[in-house]
Symmetry: C2
Subunit: 453 residues, 2 copies
């Protein structure tokens, strides 16, 4: 295992070139017109796994974007690690805010800038190369299965179905995932919890057509004004979501556990300064760490209606739209929340209005017990390469498929991510520091090493 | 003058063909890329005036879109009518809601369907043809000047400047305009008041970049949620605009005048049924006619922010945008309102946020005294062709240049419009009934006839 450093030094340039080829494929899963890029990315991964030493690798068709499966079974009596990752990326828009083209990876100040540099192509690729190293050195201590999907950013529906239909194929002892972030390169981090998600698209319709704002303005309820009122009413002055019943299933976290979560190194000022703010916002009575980790939230992800291009059109729009999502915590369930949300909005709109509320996707929250074999292996691996124990965090983000794995396959996932909060995932100028990439690559083989025992 | 009916019958087809050629030019003033269409429309009008009998017609360059000026001076001692109209039209979007292409005029059920069919190409063209008739018959009783602009839908800035610089050229006794609507084809209508306008574009900025809604959601104020809160707060539960000082300059309309305004035939139920509503909205304590005619209003004309294309992007947007406009009544002044609005919004935003408030355009409100020579001529003309006196209305719409004419040239405008509320101006499927077009054409010469005395 100690040779991993030599492997990195010797192969650095080649590894980055391979990663860059992968990143260059614009595999944005939210764009249906993107079919060839999605298949190119899947094909790329299949080849990458095979070159790295897999005995078997294939592209599996689904009703949505294809899955990539691969494996190397060294000994049926040894434990099996299922490596999960996703080759799809978030849409690159708004393009004008990127300093370099999103699908042309560029190294500046020691960081790879590109869509997917971190989330999740960069992080996923560490696993492929760690596997290559172990096979090359003939020191692979566990069986390995890979499952890579192309729908993580749009809800993982196909993988969920596949998982239910192919439990035997995916049978393993633990799932290993790098799709989360660390507090800093000095503070290795294991994510022990994920928030769930419920994501909606809303269309609010008033009068039957766009109106002239002079001839009707003042005598008609404007759907955009009305949507604004609805949205404004979803969070109260205390920062609480107002949907009746929204907090009913939220686990009360003990004072002790809250203390532990708040003990990790976290500089609130620095956190906000990194996004050019002095203060944040959110639910009163909770710290920032708690707001992100153990409390649910509600955000508008997009809003549109009326005249949104250049110039001054004096229109009173007939409809208004928003994408609204909620991050959920144990034991909130996205489908229950969807029902509460729909019922609430229906009651809020004017008599003449109609509202369509489409549940776009969601996922249940996830928690990994702090004392477990899975976590111990990850803790030891980090101890080995970082020289210190990692801290546990509950992430504010969601990886819906993690709780599906738990429910369907009955195994826990270890979320050993090497990104940083500053990597701007889902935003313009996404990046991934080279140091993080190579530290991740160095750490992963040690997880296998400690887990095999 | 009586021969106008024969003129219409004989030339119907030719007149419509000429109008259709004019409508086919997609002269959307809000689109800067539209230069050639704007010049084509101006050129078309110049030729149309010349063919109709003007002694002089020219295209006048401005800092914006060109003006078209034309005249026929028969006798300096006779009164001069200045005919105003605009050849620019509103943007045609949303295209998918049109039943026929917006710039391919089509007659269905006795109506011309096209962008600009009513506002203002159709209405303007009645004046050109009425002039042609009077010249042809050699019965023109007044001097005529034409001033047609290409910026009515975007604020009439160039015409305003031109007007100030060329008072002598535009010198006249009255301005005649058809750019308003009638209550119905049975109820001729003279618009005696226009609301003013103040139109703004707002950009609200929070954190320095788009964020992942999981990793930050619940600990950061979301600019879209915040913009919704700002907008929701602009109108209170009584339907009143909350901007401090907003109503300070609003003229109190006497009980007697309110009674007169409300005496015109107006079916509230039918008004709302026409846009598929049972109820409207607006300021409590006022009728629909009053809300539209003598009370100011505030509407969002457009809103956008975050992810607005297909799919589910879990982004917490860095900024949010809205176009917000207010209709003003005497004696509100758009620039005073702009100041009040800006001051108010600045005080409403979170400490860390910035807000840009751009004043896109505006115009002051207008009132024509009910007892005046100008109005009398219009009343008599309608009496002649409709067989009944027209009713006075205060329109909710704005024609900013009308108050500029009043301020700069010192003359009043007669707003004798022949459109209908159902013409869907500024919206998909704009139309203009043929009956209205020809009734307008028939009535206009009579205005000259009665005004000359």
């Amino acid at each position: 295992m100690d040779k991993i450093k030599d492997f990195i030094n010797t192969n650095k340039e080649r590894i980055l070139n391979e990663l860059f080829d992968f990143i260059r494929i614009p595999s944005v899963s939210a764009k249906p017109e993107n079919k060839s890029a999605m298949y190119d990315a899947a094909q790329y991964l299949k080849n990458a796994i095979l070159s790295a030493g897999a005995e078997r690798a294939e592209i599996l068709e689904t009703a949505g974007w294809p899955l990539v499966y691969g494996e190397k079974i060294i000994d049926a009596s040894k434990p099996t690690v299922l490596v999960y990752g996703h080759y799809d990326v978030q849409p690159e828009e708004p393009l004008e805010l990127w300093n370099s083209p999103p699908f042309e990876p560029e190294i500046r100040d020691g960081k790879i800038y590109a869509r997917g540099a971190d989330d999740d192509k960069g992080q996923l690729f560490m696993h492929v190369k760690a596997f290559e190293f172990m096979v090359q050195q003939n020191i692979l201590p566990c069986n390995v299965k890979f499952i890579f999907e192309g729908e993580e950013e749009i809800g993982s529906e196909s993988l969920e179905r596949f998982c239910k239909q192919h439990k035997e194929l995916l049978k393993a002892d633990v799932i290993l995932v790098s799709d989360t972030s660390m507090i800093s390169l000095d503070v290795p981090t294991i994510t022990t919890g994920l928030r769930g998600l419920a994501y909606f698209e809303i269309t609010l319709k008033g009068q039957s057509r766009d109106l002239h704002s002079g001839l009707f303005g003042g005598a008609v309820i404007n759907p955009v004004n009305e949507l604004s009122r609805l949205i404004a009413g979803l969070i109260d002055a205390e920062g609480k979501v107002t949907i009746p019943g929204f907090y009913n299933s939220v686990q009360t976290v003990s004072a002790e556990e809250r203390k532990l979560l708040n003990s990790v190194p976290f500089d609130e000022k620095k956190f906000y300064a990194g996004i050019n703010l002095k203060n944040g916002g959110g639910e009163k009575g909770f710290t920032v760490i708690e707001r992100l980790g153990i409390r649910p939230s509600l955000d508008v992800n997009g809003i549109w209606g009326g005249h949104i291009s250049q110039g001054a059109k004096t229109v009173l729009p007939a409809e208004a739209h928003a994408k609204i999502s909620m991050r959920l915590v144990p034991d909130q369930h996205p489908e229950e929340i969807a029902k509460l949300f729909k019922d609430y909005l229906q009651k809020q709109i004017p008599e003449d209005f109609t509202i369509e509320i489409e549940y776009l996707h969601g996922g249940t929250p996830y928690v990994l017990p702090f004392y477990s074999l899975e976590l111990e292996a990850a803790v030891n691996a980090c101890q080995k390469t970082f020289g210190k124990k990692p801290v546990p965090v509950r992430s504010g983000g969601s990886i819906p498929v993690i709780s599906v794995f738990e429910q369907v396959l009955g195994i826990k996932a270890v979320l050993m991510g090497f990104g940083l909060e500053s990597d701007a995932i889902h935003a313009p100028n996404e990046n991934y520091p080279l140091d993080n990439f190579f530290k991740g690559l160095e750490t992963i083989p040690w997880f296998y090493h400690f887990y095999k025992k």
